[in-house]
Amino acid sequence: MSETLANGGKVDDSKRTWLIATSCAGAAGGIAAVVPFISSFQPSEKAKAAGAAVEADISALKPGEKMTVEWRGKPVWIMRRTPEQLAALSKLDPQLADPNSTRKPTEQAPAYARNATRSIKPEYLVAVGICTHLGCSPSDKFQTGAQPSLPDDWQGGFFCPCHGSTFDLAGRVFKNKPAPDNLEVPPHVYLSDTRLLIGDDKKA
């Protein structure tokens, strides 16, 4: 059965079938050709190889001080907390969005850091210094008390300058802030009392 066109001509069914078939083959080829171009957007082998673990010497870190090391191009903070700062942590629970890191436990911290201080040794916090909102690096606000952009009963912590998220000294985010999650604790392990390996926790 061939269709009749408006101008009285007849549709050549065989020709139309081949037209459709070649068009489909052409479209499939065209789509396949897009794959290599899109794939070239992915991280190169060189970029993937740059993710090796880094070692940090924490012997010079005094209580209340923080140091930063680079891991996978991101800043990793190592903070030595004072006993007062540690004592203040538990009092903050009602003000925090997710004090016990229950929302995404596996993404937020390895099993050995899922505790009240979010650390292996209570004294040392190791966290990726990248806000979980949009990737800015929060700044240090260790001084307690009232100050611009912070609440009057501030106990010390971190403040993200981009969108105002605040974190306590265990990297836990405060309620009603744009950041949804606590700061990420990277895999890490103590090689000795003063040497810390960041990015790998198997070489114990």
């Binding site: 991280p43 970029a47 191009g73 990737g135 009603n176 744009p178």
Partner: protein
């Protein structure tokens, strides 16, 4: 297809040449269609210069961009230094660079004014919907172009601005993190990101932009320009078939436009020579510090032209979500109770609202902030179908519409101002109210634009010869 046209052998050399070309390329035809026989309404006012000015700035950006590319190095280790090299060592390099950086701000200024003109005179209404859509697409492409261009100097603001915007994509559920990785080409913004943004900025987006500009103008010249009265001039034609209220674009408006271009260039060059940084609004101070992936500047804000949309992003906190959920619920309820439509549609609306509310409760506020920012731009595309007012132009709309448009402008400026400021408690509340107004203005337009009695629209445009 035109027939081959012979010309007298005694014709002047110039005429012969033109005839030779016209037989092979429609040069005279194009000139007539788009210039000397394109009939524009004769009652254009000052608002109608910004289209031509955006075209001028586009040319300035392309020309200066070509020359900057000759000296710039798209490499994370060299980029910052090469921009300083252009500023200090390349002869006149500072001028070309400042023309380009000031041009970016000028582009947005004239485009915002051009869009506002369309808004108040109803230039987006039937039959100019496609002209408006192409224009919105140009605005979107322009934002992408400006954003990617801002990374190239590889300063602190370049770096952290890109970091924030690329991370916006990672807020999309399921595919987000992989998508952000695909955009960056690395786990953080780095050399790979800079290199690809350079490619997009100098060739990919400009090509799209030029294509869209051509489409925008072809669509406009097909339907003809609107005017401050919102009267269709094609409805009243003379015996010769030419609109009585129309006047050839060339030379009448080309001469007007040359005057506007002169005034614009005076202001533009004054800024380039005396205030190229514009107090940190055109070029942010932190961008004179090389990019440092370990330290976010204490105060980070986008360039002024992005700040209204940036405020829409910042306004959405988990607390704001409850207000938004309430808005969705009330909207759906009104549609079901008051709307005049079949029961099936009402059911679909109620079901859709339930799904949206469930998603709003389960997905992070961060994602909805991104939706709010993107929605602020995307909603402009729908304008032709949101406006139900019986008349096009603000001149004949009910008087209270004028106040509403005034509040809309003030609100937009306030949103823009808040976007430049560090986060604060009061600012946060104001930006949340402003966000609700911004979306309310558009979303409720189908309803409020019908209220009130429009003034009588004249048959012909209001124009007095001078």
């Amino acid at each position: 297809m035109a027939e081959f046209h012979e010309i007298s052998p005694n014709a002047a050399a110039g005429e012969k040449l033109l005839n030779w070309i016209d037989n092979r390329f429609p040069l005279s035809k194009l000139f007539k269609e788009h210039m000397s026989e394109y009939y524009a309404p004769k009652n254009f006012n000052i608002w109608y210069v910004f289209g031509v000015l955006s075209l001028l700035v586009l040319v300035i950006q392309i020309v200066t961009g070509i020359f900057l590319t000759m000296h710039y190095k798209p490499d994370a280790a060299l980029a910052f230094g090469s921009v300083e090299y252009i500023m200090r060592d390349v002869p006149w390099g500072w001028l070309i660079r400042y023309m380009h950086s000031t041009g970016a701000s000028a582009f947005f200024l004239v485009v915002y004014l051009h869009m506002y003109r369309g808004l108040i005179y109803g230039s987006y209404r039937k039959p100019r919907e496609l002209t408006w859509l192409f224009g919105c697409a140009i605005f979107l492409a322009l934002m992408a172009e400006a954003f990617m261009g801002y990374l190239l100097p590889w300063g602190q603001m370049s770096y952290w601005g890109a970091q924030v915007i690329v991370n916006l994509f990672s807020a999309i559920p399921f595919i987000g993190p992989d998508l952000a990785l695909l955009i960056r080409g690395d786990f953080v913004v780095g050399d790979a990101t800079l290199n690809r943004f350079f490619s997009f900025h100098v060739i990919a987006v400009p090509l799209v932009l030029l294509g869209l500009v051509v489409a925008h103008i072809i669509a406009l010249h097909e339907v003809g320009s609107n005017n401050p009265d919102g009267v269709e001039i094609k409805a009243t034609k003379g015996a010769n078939g030419i609109p009585l209220d129309g006047i050839p674009f060339h030379p009448y408006y080309t001469v007007h436009d040359i005057f506007a271009v002169s005034v614009f260039l005076m202001v533009f060059t004054a800024i380039i020579f005396f205030a190229p940084e514009m107090g940190g609004y055109f070029l942010e101070y932190n961008n004179f510090i090389p990019a440092n992936p370990f330290q976010t500047p204490l105060h980070i804000a986008p360039v002024w032209y992005f700040t209204p949309y940036y405020t829409l992003l910042r306004a959405v906190t988990s607390e704001m979500m409850y207000a938004l959920i309430a808005c969705v619920a009330v909207g759906a309820m009104l549609a079901v109770v008051k709307g005049k439509m079949p029961t099936l549609f009402k059911g679909l609306i109620a079901g859709g609202a339930l799904v949206v509310v469930a998603m709003m409760l389960s997905i992070d506020a961060k994602f909805w902030g991104v939706v709010s920012m993107g929605g602020g731009v995307v909603i402009l595309f729908f304008l032709p179908w949101l406006d139900n007012c019986a008349v096009k132009s603000i001149r004949y709309r009910p008087s209270w519409h004028k106040y509403l448009y005034a509040i809309f402008v003030i609100n937009f400026v306030v949103l823009g101002y808040l976007g430049t400021q560090p986060p604060s408690a009061i600012g946060g509340r104001v930006s949340q109210a402003g966000t609700l107004f911004y979306f309310g203005f558009f979303m409720l337009m189908p309803w409020w634009s019908r209220i009130g009695t429009p003034k009588p629209v004249p048959d012909r445009v209001t124009y007095t010869a001078h």
